[in-house]
């Protein structure tokens, strides 16, 4: 369970003409290395190592930086880079550059590069670079969240346990809950919506894990809580504190994934009954939640979709409803990002992020995910192998088959390779190795031959032989008692003599 991890991030800092600060220690190009320690616990230490190379722009980069807007420059620069997964390129532009809007000093692009406005001395640039690299790769909190089962309870923030555990694959299930099919005939074009909005994101995420998407419609599935009627707004309200009780009765209907062992992400669209509409979710302060949705950590999200009451009360039932999938998918995609820990929080004010566009995910966000998942995978492998070792220690006569042994060796080798690749700054191969390590270690740990119930416990063996041990112990104990009595007597006798 002891782990020393070194995370190396290759960073290239490229100075555009007119942006080179005066107090550079050496002439360009040169490189330096910065190491910082991330404290997790006594036995796990993570060191982050930024290997920075400083250079000036090439002619083609210069041309690209002449673009009118930051977005165009970013697109042009992307073609010039051979940015490997996990690496970063930072372009320092002159202080007066028109590329960055007023008040913005850092622009983070769609890919693995950023533009930084020059200004001040090298120290100021370094702090800015540090902020930037933390946004684009990892922070102490994101690493701590990935190692959450090693961090003492009190030290983690509330968000740390929201992220999904790293896994080889995920199953995403969209469920439409229609508790009142008599009044609402709800129809959703989920197939089109998935192809249009979800699939691009998942294609991008396919580097991280395998994804499968399916959907279902569940009728007569009700929430576990009866909403409260609010006279003022003549609507029904679900308060924030009752939300934890909403999921359980629905969960029984969702059905488990029968054919795979991957964790399931559930996204539920709930169309409330006619007698309970409109239904609004309230936050802790009693204000209605604008999206009318909430998410549950490591489980998924629920959105309430209200059906407008028909203009005339005589309208024939069931009322046909076509779900507005754009509105729904917006919420679900935001929740999906949140569940993967890809949220833009704690961003300094002068930062500007480029919208990832149709793909829903920027390259550097993918890197962030890979950093966290690689670290988490290595920690998982180490935990799995440790508990396997504990189990084997406990049962002395357990039989370890050759294939189990080779899986263990392979897991250790892959984990070591992953750590070496991390230290060398090769994020992609490190992630691949860590996945292999997880697969091998899980296969070894869950091998049916290692079930400890298969082995006869030693204390029961002793119980069977009690009819032997007990009668045999009687004469031994009796003679022991006799010896004690005699020695006592022998001690007493000489005193009597005196």
């Amino acid at each position: 369970a002891c782990a020393q991890l070194q995370l190396a991030v290759p960073v290239a800092v490229v100075f555009a003409p007119g942006s080179v600060s005066g107090d550079l220690p050496r002439p360009l190009p040169f490189g330096d290395v910065q190491e910082t320690e991330i404290a997790v616990n006594q036995r796990t230490s993570v060191t982050s190592r930024y290997e920075t190379v400083y250079r000036s722009t090439t002619a083609r980069e210069e041309a690209a930086l002449d673009a009118a807007t930051a977005r165009e420059a970013d697109a042009a620069l992307h073609l010039l880079q051979d940015a490997s997964v996990g690496s970063l390129t930072v372009y320092v532009v002159p202080e007066t550059s028109p590329l960055l809007p007023q008040g913005v000093s850092v622009y983070v692009g769609k890919h693995r590069s950023a533009l930084v406005r020059a200004g001040g001395d090298l120290a100021a640039l370094r702090t800015r670079l540090q902020q930037l690299t933390q946004v684009m790769s990892f922070t102490a909190t994101s690493i701590a969240a990935a190692l959450s089962d090693r961090v003492p309870d009190g030290q983690l923030g509330p968000d740390a346990r929201r992220h999904l555990k790293s896994s080889l694959g995920y199953e995403i299930t969209f469920s439409l809950l229609n508790p009142d099919p008599k009044s609402h005939d709800v129809d959703w074009d989920i197939e089109d919506a998935v192809n249009r909005y979800v699939q691009p994101v998942l294609d991008k995420l396919s580097l991280v894990a395998n994804f499968s998407v399916d959907s279902q419609i569940l009728y007569y599935a009700v929430l576990g809580v009866t909403p409260r009627f609010d006279k003022e707004s003549s609507s029904f309200l679900l308060s924030a504190h009752s939300l934890p009780h909403v999921i359980n009765p629905v969960e029984a209907r969702l059905g488990s994934s029968a054919a795979s062992l991957y964790p399931v992400l559930n996204f539920l669209l709930y169309v409330p009954e006619r007698s309970h509409s409109p239904l609004y979710i309230q936050d802790k302060d009693g204000a209605p939640v604008p999206t009318n949705a909430f998410h549950s950590p490591r489980w998924g999200g629920i959105m309430v979709y209200n059906v407008e009451a028909p203009a005339s009360p005589q309208a024939s039932l069931p009322l046909h409803v076509d779900v507005d999938m754009v509105r729904v998918m917006e919420v679900f995609l935001a929740q999906l990002r949140l569940l993967f820990g890809l949220s833009w929080e704690e961003l300094p004010p002068e930062f500007l992020l480029e919208s990832p566009g149709n793909e829903g995910l920027a390259d550097w966000e993918l890197d962030r995910l890979l950093w966290a998942h690689t670290v988490e995978n290595i920690a998982t492998v180490s935990t799995t192998l440790t508990s396997l070792a504990q189990l084997l220690d406990k049962i002395g006569n357990i039989v370890i088959k050759d294939d189990v042994a080779s899986e263990v060796y392979q897991a250790v080798a892959s984990a070591q390779r992953a750590m070496a690749e991390l230290a060398a700054g090769h994020l992609h191969s490190a992630f691949q190795a860590s996945r292999e390590a997880v697969t091998s270690s899980e296969r070894a740990f869950f091998d049916p031959s290692l079930l400890h119930l298969l082995y006869f416990p030693d204390d029961q063996k002793f119980a069977i032989y009690i009819p032997l041990f007990l009668p045999m112990a009687v004469p031994i104990l009796l003679s022991l008692a006799k010896i004690i009595r005699e020695t006592r007597q022998r001690k007493k006798e000489p005193t009597k003599m005196d």
Binding site: T173, P181, K182, D185, D187, D189, I190, E191, V194, S212, V213, D214, S215, Q216, I217, Y219, Y220, A252, R253, G255, S256, S257, A258, A259, S260, S316, P318, H320, D322, I464, Y465, P467, L468, L470, P471, M472, V474, P475, I476, S479
Partner: protein, 578 residues
């Protein structure tokens, strides 16, 4: 004028119905049916059928958006390359002789048979995985299906749906006769219904009533069917059926009258809003000599006549989607009151029925006898018999005798696969010609094997079950059958392929057998340990004493009891002590 316009409007509304909405055309449809048939001796059989048809090809893998078809089963079919799946969980035994031909019989316990796609390379692995997943879905012990109770019949089980080839290597069949069926199996079964048990016919499915019955059988059938008459595309059909037999005579204080409320303690109030058809059929075929139809209340919406299993039947039909039905009362409670208590004369004995028993004495050998009855007055027909016998009953195939009317009857086809100890069971398939009006007796002797002590079931003295044998036959009909429109006829006429008009397909299951095997005294090892340990310990004790005892000369003591007594007497006498 106004009246006609109103009627027209009503008709238009009816045509629009609750079916597909004005938007996209729905590609799946649900039809629910309930068939109530009074059986002789006051029993009532209720058969539910929920049919979900989906115009999509599950095999292609790209289909992952489910509406009425349950996702759990759909994914199973797609992931494991299932072409056809039939699972039945049954409690009790359908008494064919007393109750007549069942609409769809199943053997006691759990039965699972599956046809896989030709693309499946490792059928055994897929079968194992499938039974494990199904066991999870239905909370049944299907995970006990392994090679020792799985067989591959060559002729008895043909695909019931669309099939390109019938290579029987893709078929697996297993029966677990020990399986007990109860509420925990019913709940997941109900969960697969689009309306759950919240609306439609399924509201009647109340576990406490369903299991208070003589026979309970629930089944799931998945198969590919033709999408339309031209059969260029495939649709998938899921049939969920549930048959239950109530003994109304015993529960109704000696009266055979019944009603929905009496049987299910619920009544029907509406159809499932997702169903495109929701009907209750009551078998009102005449039972007495006067050929009077049975009278049910409330009056049915229509009457349907059909020839089912060689018998002309009349059904009262209640269409729950018809608005006329709930006009007068809010709920539908179908009732049948017998006019005269002795109504319900003898049911004509079914053309084909069978019986099976085990005979012999002692714990070494025994004999399995099967009696097959053909009561058809003038037609002979062949029957396929499938026997699966566990390996621990070692069949002597040379003792197989088939006797009809005192003469030996040679089967025209025999397939026998001998058992391998702890590997696979015996499989015996025979095609036997049954002469008209005859009884055929099939006997085979067996020897009981000795099991290892870990192989015994938890209650070994209860005995070991041998699964039902399966009879499949095309039974000639006594009366001529018309070609019926399969989609319109009630219930099961369309699950089994109907051949020409002169015969109908029947599959029967015999009783499961209970055989005692030589059972050891399981406390014996412990007794032996206790005894030998005690003997060893006693020996050890005396030997130890012998080795550790020290002998030394003891000085004479102050005298024994006699001396002390003498001294007391001497004291009284005033004589000095000894």
């Amino acid at each position: 004028g106004g009246m006609a316009a109103e009627l027209l409007l009503l008709l238009l509304l009816l045509a629009a119905g609750p079916g597909p909405g004005p938007g996209r055309a729905q590609r799946d449809a649900l039809r629910e049916e309930l068939l109530l048939s009074p059986l002789p001796a006051g029993d009532v059989a209720a058969t539910f059928q929920f049919r979900t048809r989906w115009d999509a090809d599950l095999q292609r893998g790209e289909v992952s958006h489910y509406r009425l078809f349950p996702k759990a089963l759909g994914r199973l079919v797609a992931a494991l390359g299932v072409r056809e799946l039939h699972l039945a969980l049954t409690q009790g035994f359908w008494r064919t002789q007393a109750w007549g031909q069942p609409p769809l019989q199943a053997p006691a316990g759990a039965e699972l048979w599956v046809w896989f796609q030709p693309t499946v390379t490792d059928v055994d692995k897929a079968w194992k995985e499938l039974s494990n997943i199904l066991s999870g879905i239905f909370c049944a012990s299907l995970n006990f299906i392994d090679s020792t109770n799985t067989v591959t019949p060559t002729a008895s089980f043909k695909p019931l749906g669309l099939a390109n080839g019938t290579d029987h290597h893709l078929l697996r069949y297993a029966v677990l006769p020990r399986e007990v069926v109860c509420t925990e199996n019913l709940t997941p079964w109900k969960k697969l219904l689009p309306c759950g048990s919240k609306a439609g016919l399924a509201v009647l499915l109340k576990a406490e009533r369903l299991f208070h019955s003589s026979y309970h059988s629930q089944a799931v059938h998945i198969r590919p069917v033709c999408r339309d008459a031209s059969c260029l595309a495939v649709s998938w059909e899921l049939r969920q059926t549930l048959t239950v037999v109530f003994d109304t005579f015993a529960s109704g204080q000696g009266k055979k009258d019944w009603s929905l409320f009496k049987m299910f303690s619920r009544t029907l109030t509406d159809a499932c809003p997702l169903a495109s058809q929701s009907k209750v059929y009551v078998d009102i075929s005449p039972k007495n000599k006067e050929k009077e139809l049975l009278e049910v209340s409330p009056p049915p919406t229509s009457v349907h006549e059909a020839v089912v299993q060689g018998d002309k039947r009349t059904y009262a039909v209640y269409d729950l989607l018809s608005p006329l039905l709930f006009n007068t009362s809010r709920s539908l409670n179908v009732q049948l009151k017998w006019q005269r208590p002795q109504d319900s004369s003898e049911l004509p004995t079914p053309v084909l029925h069978a019986q099976r028993y085990v005979s012999g004495y002692g714990l070494q050998t025994g004999e399995i006898s099967t009696l097959i009855y053909n009561t058809h007055p003038y037609r002979a027909f062949p029957v396929l018999l499938l026997e699966t016998v566990p390996w621990y009953l070692r069949l002597y195939v040379h003792t197989l005798t088939i006797i009809t009317k005192g003469k030996e009857n040679k089967p025209s086809y025999i397939h026998y696969q001998p058992a391998q100890d702890r590997r696979r069971p015996h499989l015996l398939e025979m095609l036997i010609q049954l002469p008209a009006n005859s009884i055929t007796k099939i006997t085979i002797q067996f020897e009981r094997a000795l099991l290892k002590w870990t192989e015994y079931t938890p209650d070994p003295n209860h005995g070991f079950y041998v699964g039902s044998s399966v009879l499949s036959a095309l039974v000639p009909s006594v009366i001529a059958m018309k070609d019926v429109d399969e989609e319109q006829s009630p219930l099961f006429t369309s699950l089994f392929p109907s051949s020409d008009g002169s015969s109908y397909f029947v599959r029967l299951y015999t009783e499961p057998l209970l055989v005692n095997l030589p059972t050891p005294d399981f406390s014996m090892p412990y007794n032996v340990i206790c005894l030998t340990c005690t003997v060893v310990a006693v020996c050890y004790g005396s030997f130890y004493n012998l080795l550790t005892r020290t002998f030394h000369v003891e000085e004479p003591s102050r005298g024994g009891l006699a001396k002390r007594l003498a001294n007391i007497i001497r004291k009284f006498r005033g004589v000095p002590p000894l």
